[in-house]
C-alpha cells in the first residue's frame, strides 16, 4: 500500500525563513525588548543577561535563546476533564477551538450584538462540548453579569462545569492565576497531577512592538512553574504596531515570541510553550485589524512555519471573520482560514464562532464553523489508496450496466471516504423549498435547539462541582463579590 501524502502548505522559502530568524536573533541580542515585570527582569539578570531596570530593557544572547529552544518540548499533550482522552499538540496535528475573549454575543433571536451573560457561556460550553470538530473549548466570552475583577477565573469555572474538553484561556489580572490554577488542579486532584496531565493552555500576549507587560510576563512565569502550557500570542499590526511588510512583521513576531519563550524556560526549564499569535494586516482606512484579510492569514501561515522550523508546537487565530452577521463574508473568511490553517498543520487553531474581529461570538456561526472544520480535517487526511488493487478488480468482466450502489466495495468504503454532512443544503430545489426554504443560519439555529434539547450537559461528578463552586466562591468573596449568578446544575 502506498503511504498517504499529507497535503502541506508552506509560504516561506528556506533562505527567507533563515533571514527572518537571523534578523530576529540580531534584534534580541542588540536592541532587546522591554519587560515591565520586575520578577521577569530578575530572572533574566540571574541568567546573566544585560538588564536595564530604568527602561525595563532586556537583551538576550543568541546562546540563551538557542539553549531555551533546546529545552522547550516539541509537543504538549493536553487531557480532557476525565484525564482519559489525550490530545497531542505538536507535529502536524490540528485542533480547532472557538475564538476567545469575545465581549459581545450575537443574539440568535434579535440578530443584534449584546453583552454576554452567564447563560451564554453555559450554552456555549454545552454546544462546544457537543460539536465533534471542536477538539478544545475556549473561554470565549467575557460575561457582563459578573464583576470584571473575577472575569478570568469565572469563565474557567463555567468551562469546567459545562464541557469536558481541554480549555484555551488566559489571565486578566496577576491575581487571577491562583484561582484559575486551583480550579484546574481540583479537577485533577492536585497540582502535580495537573502538571502531568495539562487541562488548559494559557494565552499570553506581548504588547507590540517589543514589549511584555507586567501581567503577561507574570502569566508566563506562573504557568511555567505550574507546568501549564503558555501560548505566546504576538500580535503585530502591519504598518501600525509592526512593520508594514509581511516579512517585517514576521521578524517582530519572532523576536517577541522568542523572548517570551526564554522567560518560560528560565522560570522552569522544560516548560511547555506554544508558538502562537494573533497578528493582523492593519486596515489603513478604518484603522481596524481584519482577521479575515488574506495578508493576516499569510502572516499566520508563515510564523507557524517558522515555529515548526524551530521545533515548537504552533497556534493561530484563524477560521474567524470580521463580518457582523452570518453572511457570505463570515463563511468565506472562516472557510479559507480553516482550510489554510489545516493545510499548514497549525496545532491549535482558535477562531470558530467568532465574528466582528475577535469581539463577538455567534452560536449559529459556531455550528456552521464546526462543519467547516470537519471539511478541513477531511482535506488533510489526504487521499488514501484504500485497496490493492485500487479499482482494477471492480472492472473485471466489465458490464455496462454496472451499478456501484450495489457493490460491497461501496458499502465498505463510502463512510470512510466521505463525510456525511447534514448542515449544508444538499437538497434539490423543490425539497429545499418544501423543507421551509431555510438559510444556513436558520438550519444552524435548528441544530442549536436540537443539541440543547437532546444532549444533556456533561457535568462533572457532584463532589467536583462542589469543590469548583467553593474555589470560585472564595475568589469572589476575596474580591468583595457576595453572590454569583445562580446555575441550573
Amino acid at each position: 500500500m502506498i503511504p498517504t501524502l499529507r497535503p502541506k502548505l508552506e509560504l516561506l522559502s528556506p533562505p527567507l525563513l533563515e533571514k527572518i530568524l537571523g534578523e530576529a536573533f540580531l534584534i534580541l541580542e542588540r536592541e532587546g525588548l522591554v519587560f515591565e515585570n520586575e520578577e521577569a527582569r530578575k530572572i533574566f539578570l540571574a541568567a546573566g543577561m544585560a538588564v536595564d531596570d530604568d527602561t525595563g530593557r532586556v537583551r538576550l544572547t543568541r546562546k540563551i535563546v538557542e539553549d531555551s529552544l533546546a529545552s522547550t518540548p516539541s509537543s504538549v499533550t493536553l487531557y480532557d476533564r476525565s484525564g482519559e482522552s489525550a490530545f497531542l499538540v505538536g507535529g502536524d496535528e490540528v485542533h480547532f477551538d472557538p475564538g476567545s475573549g469575545g465581549i459581545r454575543v450575537l443574539d440568535h433571536r434579535t440578530r443584534r450584538e449584546r453583552p454576554p451573560v452567564t447563560e451564554d457561556l453555559v450554552i456555549l460550553g454545552r454546544l462546544t462540548d457537543a460539536l465533534p470538530n471542536l477538539h478544545f473549548q475556549s473561554t470565549s466570552l467575557v460575561t457582563s453579569d459578573v464583576p470584571q475583577i473575577i472575569g478570568d477565573s469565572y469563565r474557567v469555572y463555567l468551562n469546567l462545569l459545562f464541557s469536558a474538553k481541554p480549555i484555551v484561556t488566559g489571565t486578566f489580572r496577576v491575581e487571577g492565576f491562583g484561582p484559575m490554577r486551583d480550579l484546574l488542579a481540583a479537577v485533577r486532584g492536585g497540582t502535580d497531577e495537573l502538571r502531568r496531565k495539562p487541562l488548559a493552555i494559557f494565552d499570553a500576549c506581548p504588547s507590540p512592538p517589543l514589549k511584555w507587560s507586567r501581567l503577561t510576563s507574570q502569566s508566563l512565569i506562573d504557568c511555567a512553574r505550574a507546568g501549564i502550557p503558555s501560548e505566546l500570542i504576538s500580535m503585530g499590526m502591519t504598518g501600525a504596531a509592526s512593520p508594514a511588510t509581511i516579512t517585517g512583521t514576521l521578524v517582530q513576531h519572532v523576536v517577541e515570541n522568542l523572548a517570551g519563550l526564554v522567560l518560560c524556560q528560565l522560570a522552569r526549564p522544560g516548560a511547555p510553550v506554544i508558538f502562537g499569535g494573533s497578528p493582523s494586516s492593519f486596515d489603513m482606512r478604518k484603522g481596524t485589524t481584519p482577521m479575515g484579510a488574506v495578508e493576516t492569514m499569510m502572516i499566520d501561515l508563515a510564523y507557524a512555519q517558522i515555529g515548526k522550523a524551530l521545533g515548537l508546537p504552533t497556534h493561530a487565530y484563524m477560521a474567524l471573520s470580521d463580518a457582523k452577521t452570518n453572511d457570505s463574508q463570515a463563511g468565506y473568511e472562516t472557510g479559507i482560514g480553516a482550510v489554510l490553517a489545516a493545510l499548514a498543520g497549525i496545532n491549535v487553531v482558535s477562531g470558530p464562532g467568532m465574528l466582528d474581529y475577535e469581539s463577538a461570538i455567534s452560536f449559529e456561526k459556531l455550528v456552521i464553523d464546526d462543519e467547516i472544520c470537519g471539511m478541513a480535517y477531511r482535506l488533510i487526511e489526504g487521499i488514501a489508496q484504500r485497496e490493492d488493487p485500487i479499482a482494477e478488480h471492480l472492472f473485471r468482466a466489465f458490464d455496462p450496466g454496472l451499478n456501484f450502489l450495489t457493490l460491497p466495495h461501496t458499502r465498505k468504503w463510502y463512510k470512510l471516504e466521505h463525510r456525511l454532512s447534514t448542515l449544508p443544503d444538499r437538497d434539490n430545489y423543490d425539497a429545499w423549498e418544501a423543507a421551509g426554504a431555510k438559510t444556513l443560519d436558520e438550519r444552524a439555529s435548528d441544530r442549536i435547539r436540537e443539541i440543547l434539547e437532546k444532549t444533556p450537559a456533561r457535568l462533572p461528578a457532584p463532589g467536583l462541582v462542589e469543590d469548583l463552586g467553593r474555589i470560585i466562591g472564595e475568589d469572589a468573596r476575596h474580591n468583595g463579590i457576595a453572590t454569583l449568578p445562580a446555575l441550573e446544575i
Binding site: 465581549i103 472575569g151 504596531a241 469581539s359
Partner: protein, 215 residues
Amino acid sequence: MDQLIASFMIQSIVDGDKAAATALAQDALIRGLDPRDVIENGFIPGIRKVGGLWESGEYFLPELIAGAEAMKAAMAVLRPLLEASSAARLSLGKVVIGTIEGDIHDIGKNLVAAMLSANGFEVIDLGADVKLDRFILTAEETGASIVCLSALLTTTMLGQRRFLELLRTRGLRHKYKVLVGGAPVTRKWADDIGADGYGENALAAVRAAKALAER
C-alpha cells in the same frame, strides 16, 4: 501672504513633509511674516486639503498622520510667536487625552491626538496607562476644557464611567467636557455613562471635539 510661499506651505502639509513644514515656518519668521497670517493662509489650508483627500478616499491613515505631524511641527515653530489674542483666536482650546490605567493600547489614542492637534486644539497627551486622577490634575493645571478618555479593553472602558463619577464627586463635572472612545466603546455606552461626546474614529472624534468647543 505671497501665493507661491503659501502653496509651498500647503504642499508641505499635503506631502506630510515635517522637515519642509518646519523650514518653511522658520523661513517665514525670518522674513518677518505675521505668524497668524502664515498659519491661517499657509498651513491651515494644507491640513484642510489633507482632510479632503482622506474624505475622498485618496488618502489613507499613514498620509493622514503624516499631514497631522507636519502641521504639528509647523505650529511648534509658529505658536510661541503668536500674540496672545491671535493664539486664543486660533486655538480651539486645550484637550487632555490619554488611555486609561490598565490599558497600554495607544494607537487609536495617538491618532485622535494627532488629528485634534492638526485641527487647532492644543493637545496634552498623557500617553497610555494613565491614572484617572492624573487626567483631572492635568486638566486643572493646564486649564483644559475637554478631556478625552481612550480604552481598548472592556475592563478599562469601565474607567470611563468611574472618571465621570469622580468628576461629579469632586464637583468638577461642569468644568469639563468629556469625550470617550476606543474599540469597545459605543454611542450607547457614551450616553449611558453621561459622556459629552463619542467618536467612532479619529475624524469623528475631531468633529465631536469641535462641536463641544463651539458650544
